[in-house]
Amino acid sequence: MSIRKLCLATVAALALASVSANAVTLRYANQGDLKSLDPYTLNETTANAHLGHVYEGLTKRDRELKIIPGLAERWEVMDGAKKWRFYLRKGVKFQNGEDFTADDVIFSADRVRAQGSNFQTRVPKGAKFSKIDDHTVEVELESPNPIMNAQWDTWYIMSKKWAEANNTAAPTPASATSPSHASLNANGTGPFRIESHQPGVKTVFKPHAGWWGKKEHNLDEIVFTPISNDATRVAALLSGEVDVIEPVPIQDIPRVNSSDKARVLAGPESRTIFLGFDQIRDELLESNVKGKNPFKDVRVRQAFNMAIDKETIKTRVMRGLSTPSPLMIAPELVPWPKDFQNPKFDPDAAKKLLEEAGYPNGFEVGMDCPNDRYVNDGPICQAVVGMLARIGVKVNLNAQPKAQYFAKILKPGGYKTSFYLLGWTPGTFDSHNVLYDIHGCRAEGSPRGESNVGGYCNKTVDELADKVLVESDTAKRNALIKEAFQITTKEFAYVPLHQQALAWGVAKNVELSQRPDNSVLLYWATKK
């Protein structure tokens, strides 16, 4: 580059910089990366929230998580919830200018269920989509499902023409060996479009001028950067380099609140953090107990439940910002949380139970734990190691980055774990998801129990879950759910630890709404 050209480029760059300084730019930093822009690659809250600025589903959820119309203006449930009809919004345009029609919905329904999609359960397997006219779609189900659209706010509709023209009609699997067009580019109907995307470095969003909805923000630009280091993320907020961060490490909340630049928005998250046991293998992968699996014995599971002091984890590790829970679902999402009690913290009784189960001297077991996924996940696991040591169980902790962790313990990795810590938010905000996905019996070829890493299985619970799915009477449904949770609690299927608190750091001149599902949705943000 010649000197002259360099000078010109510099001047141009400076001019650009000064222009963007006048515009309202919201800078947002998150702990995690946005790896793929393909909305069917990874079903994870953070990624879904990011892409929710660009893409939209047939339904949306409002600030209180209530389902509201999205790309579908309204819908009808017919034939005992076996048939649904969706009336699509007219005049909606994709960001490349194409019109949104029923063809796009049908295309997206196929794509989301195709091999490689991480969202296959969004749309029931046998559901038949048919186009009535350009703006009406009918869905026929094999079995009734009154909550079919509960997770459709994160089933994002893609453009058929765009996907086909760019050779990206198949979903990009998380294990793809090369990036697809859709993983680097986006074309949605949402309030923002992607201006530029450097995976792991920076993603810039700009408002989509032709958006159909009513604008509730005053932003000209959103700049997203991942900052994985807790301290640096907080420092960036306090120095005013970024306007919003998620999460604020809980130990830094007082510091953020005492600064004159920012504040913390905190609240209980609908995510349950729990410990799970491998109770399906006949011998644990990582243990000194050979020939049998101690976790198949309910007394051992009970002992673990009694040995863990959730209150101290709350006060010390979580610094008061967690809600210890006996349930595997957030208490706000069920009507009878008070009917369930945390098992009494009693290490002596736990030790006795272990003795009865035939482990008077305890045993050794490996534990898998992420160290960059949930609030203080590493320290929680370390604390669990200490508490279990007191009843004689030696835990070999393997705390690892989430990428390795999930690759090891989830289905693609062959559920290779003996004892693990996981967090779960039911995407439907409904108990059925919890009963089906993390309590359901695993079976080859069925999505039931896909995230039931430990392989807990009770046919009665499965039957109850199936009944819950089709029951439309709320009272009866709640009773069924309660019955199922009573069984799983009695069998100590898991060790539920707590609902973690969500904590966002927000600059004082920024207003935004916090949803308990921890989705940072900046289309509700205003900046002064």
Partner: protein
């Protein structure tokens, strides 16, 4: 042979002891040591720290590596003299309720162990390759020295990181708690051997042409015996200096790797891991978690480096 009387034995021991003591007292090294108060201070610090690390199991109030003795309820307590301090924890506790003083002693033990073993491994590798290269010369020599050249172009920390990554990948499935120390020792050993090899090779090439080696060869002793029994004692001197100087580097390397999260896990913290833990709480006011391990590491490395510098100067006749 008549048995010596007890008096004679005593006399022998006494005179021998006296000769040894006076020999040390009159030696140049000792004199230069006495002449430098900074060196004496550094030596005292190193001795205290090594003793503290060795005796950690006896002098530390708690065992921070035994999770059964750590109580989460004690987490993040400030040093005793601060408000909220607890007399049980002189310089406070970390985020898991470990007594920081004990954790530092044990961490020091890990740091010194890994650093020491790593440097020793490096010395063994380096000396072996250096002896072989120097003694045999020719193609063997050329290959070994080319490898050394290539490796010398990279900073040791980068090599250690790479080896750590590779060994980790190979040891996939082995929990960090068990694999960390061997992985670190191997990483350090393989990153620091070049200097030994070069030094030993140089002196071996000189020694091998001397008469005593020729004699040994004539007698028909096999090459490994000649190298180990005859050449090695005559070339080992400078290795001591390199050992001391490298120990500081090895400790830094271990601490850095642990700080970067590819070393010892938080359940068995070394000084570097403790600093990494404390770094998380830098902004939240829990200053002691990072400060005390950081100070310990800084002082240890400084003291070891001062000793190394002094030893190099004392043993290097050119500078004297």
């Amino acid at each position: 042979m008549p048995t010596p009387t007890p008096e004679e034995v005593k006399g022998l021991v006494a005179s021998g002891g006296a000769t040894l003591a006076s020999r040390i007292r009159d030696s140049d090294i000792y004199l230069s040591f006495r002449a430098s108060p900074l060196t004496m201070l550094a030596a005292a610090i190193v001795v205290i720290m090594v003793a503290g690390a060795l005796l950690a199991a006896w002098i530390a109030p708690t065992n921070p590596f035994d999770p059964a003795t750590v109580f989460l309820a004690d987490a993040s307590i400030p040093p005793r003299w601060q408000q909220g301090g607890d007399p049980r924890f002189v310089i406070g506790t970390d985020d898991q309720g470990r007594d920081l003083y004990s954790a530092i002693l044990y961490g020091l033990r890990v740091s010194l162990l890994v650093g020491g073993m790593g440097v020793l491994l490096a010395a063994v590798i380096g000396i072996t390759l250096g002896l072989v290269a120097g003694y045999f010369g020719g193609r063997v020599d050329a290959i070994i020295m080319r490898i050394a050249d290539v490796q010398l172009t990279f900073p040791a920390i980068l090599i250690a990181l790479l080896i750590d990554g590779v060994v980790q990948a190979l040891m996939k499935g082995v929990p960090r708690e068990q694999s960390a120390i061997p992985v670190l020792v191997i990483s350090i050993g393989l990153s620091f051997w070049v200097q030994y090899a070069r030094t030993i090779r140089g002196s071996t090439m000189v020694e091998k042409n001397k008469d005593y080696v020729a004699a040994a060869r004539l007698v028909g002793l096999p090459a490994p015996v000649i190298m180990l029994r005859h050449v090695l004692p005559n070339v080992i001197g400078p290795v001591l200096v390199i050992l001391t100087i490298n120990l500081g580097l090895a400790i830094i390397t271990e601490a850095t790797l642990s700080f970067l999260g590819v070393g010892l896990p938080p359940t068995q913290p070394s000084l570097g891991t403790l600093i990494a833990i404390g770094n998380k709480y830098l902004f939240s006011g829990d200053w002691w978690i990072v400060t005390f391990p950081g100070l310990t590491l800084a002082i240890l490395v400084l003291a070891v480096n001062l000793l190394g510098d002094w030893l190099r100067d004392a043993l290097n006749p050119k500078l004297r």
